[in-house]
Amino acid sequence: MSLKIIVLAKQVPDTRNVGKDAMKADGTVNRAALPAIFNPEDLNALEQALRLKDAHPGTTVTLLTMGPGRAAEIIREGLYRGADGGYLLTDRAFAGADTLATSYALSMAIRKIAAYDLIICGRQAIDGDTAQVGPQVAEKLGLSQITYTEAVLKVENGTITAKRRLERGVEIVETKLPTLITVNGSAPDCRPRNARYVQKYKHAKTVTEKQEADADYTHLFSHRPYLNLQEWSVADVKADVVQCGLSGSPTKVKKIENIVFHAKESKTMAPTDNAIDELMKELITNHTIG
């Protein structure tokens, strides 16, 4: 059977490679110093979707992302790797959303897409590490969920079977479609870009991007409808603005602090034979080791 799959993906600052200039003098995060990347586990999610597309001819993979205008890069990146289309949910009213307001907005966009058998997303995003949005979207749509998925084993007769990787073992579970699954980083890496798709989609743009696009390419958009990336606002997805963004977020950030280490008085040494011998002797004598 062919499937209609929606992949939820997020553009995130690369918090794994935070350099010394990542924090501003006032203690806030200097987002400009961090490259924006495709959230790693969302790439694992995309790969699971593309494998299902390989196995089930006629399957379509649609990306959905929420973020500022530049998050359209996420959709293009997905198209380059084999997705069929995508939507960018972007509106000032979405800004400042916690996980609950984010999942509300995404669920409204999914309701607008309407036709789907399976929603796949990464377990968590590296800028928040909460792993909340997947289950919250499932709850808002009244869907069952399979979190911590390492592999989709099969989809047959409207039932999906998946392997979950938990702290202390694995579980094989099954449920009827439609459902939502979240994918772990332990799942296979995403395939690389395909040169043919890069050629096909490199001029794909949202309405906003088209306004800034090089005039030479503007004729393309009417000839090749797949180059038009959909951009949706709060009104487009018929969302209640009060439930979006900051106003729709029950959690508030009271305080942000730089980390203050409880600094100790430390003894500094070079790794000379003498220094190491002395240190080891001390640790053995005071029964820390041995």
Partner: protein
């Protein structure tokens, strides 16, 4: 009413450590707030589960016992908590930041429209003043957690919504028996009044739970490596030192992400929290996400080429040099000077 609730995870009839840690924390929060602490046990064959729970200070235990509730699946456990919380109106609800708590918590929070903060490293009670509205909120739960990949620490509050929900990782809070013979009130609920057949949408067809291969949490000595170790091969030096001095090998998230070592060994905000007697940090720069999980170690040795590595600030001994140079010398001295 308006009490503190702790969801207790149960595997093979044993209440998970993380749940007992949360009961201990919940007990002290309840004392501060002057409210009761209530535990929720959902599973099967739970007749004696109260013996494990009451010693940690719960006043009330809610039991939902049904063969279909074990092993855990998302929907039935969610619907039970949502209905129970709807009736009881807790002010705070806590659960473990485990694959169960992180599956269940967001679903419950979404159904209740309540805020949920994941992976808190500290929970405190305090007030909040909303200056714009000239409003003061008394006795809120401060949910404190590293954010942004662990580079900052944020205090999160839920001023309006109840319950205030938070998850906490295993090992972050300390479990402590309050009174080994304590007894409390057991409320046995009629499960069929909470769940319907359609809630059993996901079936577990196979389950293989393994004992963990490593025992980082319980090890008195940890030799941990970071990205600065440089390669999977160089990590062998850490395994060698750990084997010689009787410790376990741990790692920072960067080393795990780089594929030097398996995830099971990750220490920090998104891994295990440890409090060993000796912690040897090799090539670890010391992002808060890591430090949060090891700063209570008694003695910390940092081996790092960078004399300004942030971790050096909390180290008792700083060896400014490479892992390749330092570790063999430690191994050699130990081998030559102990029996």
């Amino acid at each position: 009413m308006n009490n503190i609730y702790v969801y207790c995870e149960i595997e093979d009839g044993i209440v998970a450590d993380v749940s007992l840690e949360l009961l201990t924390k919940g007990r002290s929060l309840a004392a501060t707030l002057g409210c009761k602490l209530e535990a929720v046990a959902i599973g099967h064959s739970l007749d004696k589960i109260d013996e494990q729970i009451f010693p940690y200070g719960a006043d009330v235990l809610h039991v939902f016992d049904d063969a279909r509730l074990s092993p855990y699946t998302s929907l039935p456990h969610t619907v039970i908590l949502v209905k129970l919380f709807g009736q009881e109106k807790p002010q705070i609800a806590l659960m473990g930041a485990t694959s169960i708590g992180r599956d269940l918590g967001p679903r419950v929070s979404s159904a209740l429209g309540s805020g949920l903060t994941a992976d808190c490293t500290s929970l405190e009670i305090g007030d909040h003043e909303e200056k714009k509205e000239n409003k003061v909120y008394k006795n809120l739960l401060y949910q404190i957690r590293p954010a942004f990949g662990g580079n900052i620490v944020a205090t999160i509050i839920n001023p309006e919504c109840r319950p205030q929900m938070a998850t906490v990782r295993e090992g972050v809070m300390k479990k402590e028996v309050l009174n080994p013979s304590a007894k409390g009130e057991v409320k046995i609920h009629n499960v069929s009044r909470y769940v319907s057949d359609s809630d059993f949408a996901v079936s577990v067809i196979e389950r293989r739970m393994e004992k963990s291969k490593t025992n980082i949490k319980g090890s008195p000595i940890i030799v941990a490596g970071g990205y600065g170790v440089g390669s999977k091969e160089n990590f062998q030096l850490l395994y060698e030192l750990a084997a010689v001095i009787g410790g376990e090998v741990g790692a920072s998230r960067a080393a795990v992400d780089a594929g030097f070592v398996e995830h099971e060994r990750q220490i920090g905000q998104t891994g295990v929290t440890v409090r060993p007697k000796l912690y040897i940090a090799c090539g670890i720069s010391g992002q808060i996400q890591h430090v949060a999980g090891m700063q209570e170690s008694s003695i910390i040795i940092s081996v790092n080429n960078d004399p300004n590595a942030p971790i050096n600030a909390i180290a008792d001994y700083v060896i400014t040099g490479s892992v390749e140079e330092t570790l063999p010398k430690m191994i050699k001295y130990y081998k030559n000077n102990t029996k």
